[in-house]
């Protein structure tokens, strides 16, 4: 396996936590992984991005020019990054924050989910990233939902472990959007 995913949204949507979670779960499944956060002078509400590369062999570049998959959580990210996705790749788009319909591209498979609405249905708007995690995991088959649940214990501070069941519920709701 050699998979990469580029994740983008605005600060506060849990982009970095999502990247951490996917990476940690993949490591727990025995793979090699790099998690590379954009590290800059971004301020709250600004752009947030990260790249996760998962491989059965040694991970090469943590930087990916043309990702295989992208999780784009707001309109600005779609505008900026959609066209970078490799032909044959996959885009997971948060249609809740799209002013126009999600872009269509014959060479990129697009799955648009109204993630904000789904998150609110589960119980908290901040669960957008978990809806995305579930959908991405089911779609790519890269990690099991159970691994993501385990990884939550590692990447969330202890004081937030009480929210894990809610996070898992959001992941399941995300995964349900993927029809095989």
């Amino acid at each position: 396996m050699n998979l990469d995913v580029f994740i983008a949204g605005y600060g506060g949507q849990g982009v970095l936590l999502l990247g951490n979670l996917l990476a940690c779960a993949s490591i727990r499944e025995g793979r090699n992984v790099s998690y590379f956060p954009a590290y800059g002078v971004e301020k709250r509400g600004g752009a947030a991005t990260c790249t996760v590369v998962i491989s059965d062999a040694e991970v090469g570049s943590p930087v990916v020019g043309r990702p295989q998959a992208a999780i784009l959580l707001n309109q600005a990210s779609v505008e900026k990054y959609f066209e970078r996705i490799r032909p044959g790749g996959f885009a997971l788009i948060n249609s809740s924050l799209m002013e126009a319909p999600a872009p269509a591209c014959a060479q990129v498979e697009v799955l648009a989910i109204a993630m904000n609405e789904v998150a609110l249905e589960v119980g908290d708007a901040r669960l957008v990233n978990m809806v995305a995690a579930g959908a991405w995991a089911k779609k790519t088959g890269a990690v099991q939902l159970s691994s993501l649940e385990q990884a939550l214990r590692e990447v969330l501070p202890e004081r937030n472990h009480r929210f894990i069941p809610l996070n898992v519920e959001a992941m399941k709701r995300g995964a349900a959007f993927v029809t095989s």
Partner: protein, 356 residues
């Protein structure tokens, strides 16, 4: 010990230092390395160690000098502008034959610059950034695991040769997270620190740590002694990683994060049928010149990638066979200016096609 942890590069270097027996840290915060002092501030006191946030970078390097003179394993860390402030102390440590670890998680410059990953501190690190014509042992990790492993190695080499060691990272390696398998420090036999100023006790002779040699011919002899150690390092301690160089017609070289990106580009080139190999220097001083000399007996083209406008390429040119052609491709850092594997692959493919 064999559980794989999910760790940030900056934390890995701190973990490696602690596993190597470092119990004293002196530093001053600066982005993008502040995770290192943060980790040390939390972890050193329970181990009986000492963490001091110094009043400045200059204070920190001189505290390191003092601790090292007492024979303990100690370190400091900073990022490019902060490392510049430490140069006087580094020169004094080199002159005083004091070991110790200095971590530089480089950011872009010159001056205040920015916080993007950069390799523009290569000259400063390997050519002696302070006065007096000294060298540091310089190690360039390209993964989170190596941040841990090379922190350990840096302490051992530094103690063995009595030369300060620098771990030259960058903000990508410092901030990225990967799997890390912690392990115990390798068993190595190191010379006794019979020079450490730890109190005279019952000894008849007083120990003195100094870099001031006023006697007739003393300083020249001292400098020749230091020089011989640098020669020993060149002879015995050059380290590198070689990939697919046996049948290569083109050798790619890069260090640190750029080597990671280049590795992917080299794999793309191999997949496209191009005979490309790679040499990744792990020690920047001593520079693994022999590896280049050997590889360029057959491969006559060398392509050097750096996140600057060309620094290591000078050492590459000095090392290759006389008739080898050395080409450089680099970018000075700036927001979003990290090269991609695709970009480096395009350079490789174009250079392969070019007649020498």
């Amino acid at each position: 010990m064999d559980q794989r942890l999910f760790v940030k590069g900056n934390e890995a270097v701190a973990m490696g230092a602690l596993a190597a027996g470092c119990r004293y840290y002196f530093g001053y915060p600066i982005t993008p390395q502040s995770d290192i002092p943060e980790y040390m501030a939390r972890e050193l006191p329970p181990l009986g160690g000492t963490f001091i946030q110094a009043e400045s970078e200059i204070g920190a390097i001189n505290m390191l000098l003092g601790a090292s003179a007492c024979g303990v394993r100690a370190m400091t860390s900073s990022s490019s502008p902060g490392i510049s402030l430490k140069q006087e102390g580094l020169s004094y440590m080199a002159g005083s034959e004091l070991p110790g670890l200095v971590v530089n998680i480089c950011r872009s410059g010159p001056g205040l610059g920015g916080i993007d990953a950069s390799q523009a501190d290569y000259f400063q690190a390997v050519k002696g950034g302070g006065h007096g014509g000294y060298h540091l042992i310089v190690l360039a990790p390209h993964s989170v695991q190596e941040m841990y492993d090379l922190a350990m190695l840096a302490f051992d080499l530094s103690d063995q040769y009595r030369i300060p060691a620098m771990l030259l990272g960058d903000s990508v390696i410092g901030q990225m997270k990967e799997a890390l398998t912690p392990h115990a420090r390798p068993q190595v036999t190191l010379p006794a620190k019979d020079w450490a100023v730890e109190g005279k006790g019952t000894r008849s002779a007083q120990r003195i740590v100094k870099s001031l040699y006023l006697g007739d011919g003393e300083l020249e002899a001292h400098n020749w002694k230091l020089h011989r150690r640098y020669e020993l390092l060149r002879e015995h301690e050059a380290r590198w990683e070689a990939l697919d160089v046996e049948d290569a017609e083109l050798i790619v070289t890069a260090f640190g994060v750029t080597a990671r990106i280049a590795k992917s580009a080299v794999r793309m080139a191999r997949a496209a049928g191009l005979k490309v190999g790679m040499i990744r220097p792990i020690t920047l001083f001593p520079f693994p010149g022999a590896a280049f000399a050997e590889a360029t007996r057959n491969a006559k083209k060398v392509l050097c990638f750096e996140l600057n406008t060309g620094q290591m390429v000078e050492d590459v040119r000095l090392s290759v066979a006389r008739d080898a052609d050395v080409y450089f491709y680099g970018r000075p850092p700036g927001a979003g200016s990290l090269p991609t594997p695709e970009e480096l692959y395009a350079q490789i493919a174009a250079y392969c096609r070019r007649s020498a």
